[in-house]
Symmetry: C2
Subunit: 190 residues, 2 copies
DNA sequence: GTCTATACCAGGATAGAC
DNA sequence: GTCTATCCTGGTATAGAC
């Protein structure tokens, strides 16, 4: 059972990931869910409040998905590859990019709490990746920078994939940019 | 001597790089340049036309800056580091990110020509980086993926830097995210 | 919790004078 | 090439009935 609030968040998240924070409006959600704009305001009084709810849920869900990678994958290398798969799957869903990547770009339009949550999301990811790198035998002085580099390459790969996939559905030869970039990084860093 | 059109482009480019394509309006440029909105429309009839002019100029200027890196830096490794410096300098100018990174995120709001030009910009960069990597002795089968990974890490590093720099000017310990990420990649890829 | 109706302002753009 | 005046549309949000 999904509540109306959840359905609004689902719609809004997709819209943000595809069009950016300033690229959608309550009217778009209204059309998609066949609900009126005031009804949306009932659940999320302002667009800023909606953004707060979005990032809070995104962080939780991402942590859960990452936990599944932890449980399913055996070995540090496989966990790093599985983690990159989370980003690749995001893009596979209609060319979405990371919600926090979008929020980083549109930070000026967002309230402080959302900016801080965005930064905290990336800090979470750096911490997790650094831990896996340490397990894989990367020296302690290198885990921090290497984790940041891995994270940056994944976020950037989503941008490149988006730019490349634009002339309609013609994906071209470069099938999976995100997984390709991730594989290069894993090979280079370990 | 700078023409009015140039001053408009300067203002618009900064606005796009800081707020995103959907995060600014002709009114912002108007306020900054003390010129009226219709005057801006005289030079760039539509916002889409402005975006086209922006990316055309950006590609030219970026090619020039890259050429300077080619001329000034001795050796493939130094050229890769110098190239990353272009991105780091962009961020140093008021937290700007790459214009094409923004256009990749906001692609849905942009006309097809701009999307194609964005993709072409990235293709340019991949080509140049791949060439330098080949010079550095990277095997031919690896230059393509490695160049894409380097480019992705630079674009992503700008997003991370933006997200991190948000709680006002408190930069924190992690001084230069872009150069740090670039150094990690260069060490790992060469 | 959802609706109708509406207020208010901002964004993109045009007409036409100077 | 720049201005004043204006138009239309859409975005965000509120009031108040059901």
């Amino acid at each position: 059972m999904t509540t109306t609030a959840d359905r609004i968040l689902d719609s809004a998240q997709t819209l943000v990931q595809v069009r950016g924070y300033n690229g959608f409006s309550y009217a778009d959600i209204s059309a998609e869910l066949s609900i009126t704009k005031p009804s949306i305001h009932h659940h999320f009084p302002t667009k800023a409040a909606l953004a707060e709810a979005l990032i809070a849920r995104y962080r939780e869900r991402f942590a859960v998905a990452r936990k599944e990678v932890d449980d399913d994958a055996a070995g540090a290398r496989q966990r790093l590859v599985g983690y990159a798969g989370l980003y690749a799957e995001t893009f596979a869903q209609g060319g979405r990019i990371c919600l926090c990547g979008v929020f980083a770009v549109d930070a000026e339009s967002l309230p402080v709490q959302v900016r801080q949550a965005t930064d905290a999301f990336f800090a979470d990811q750096r911490h997790w990746v650094a831990g896996v790198l340490a397990e894989a035998g990367v020296p302690a002085t290198r885990t921090g920078p290497a984790a940041e580099a891995y994270l940056a390459s994944l976020e950037g790969a989503l941008l490149l994939a988006r730019a490349h996939g634009q002339p309609d559905g013609a994906a071209g030869p470069d099938r999976d940019v995100v997984r390709s970039v991730a594989a290069t990084l894993v090979d280079a860093l370990l």
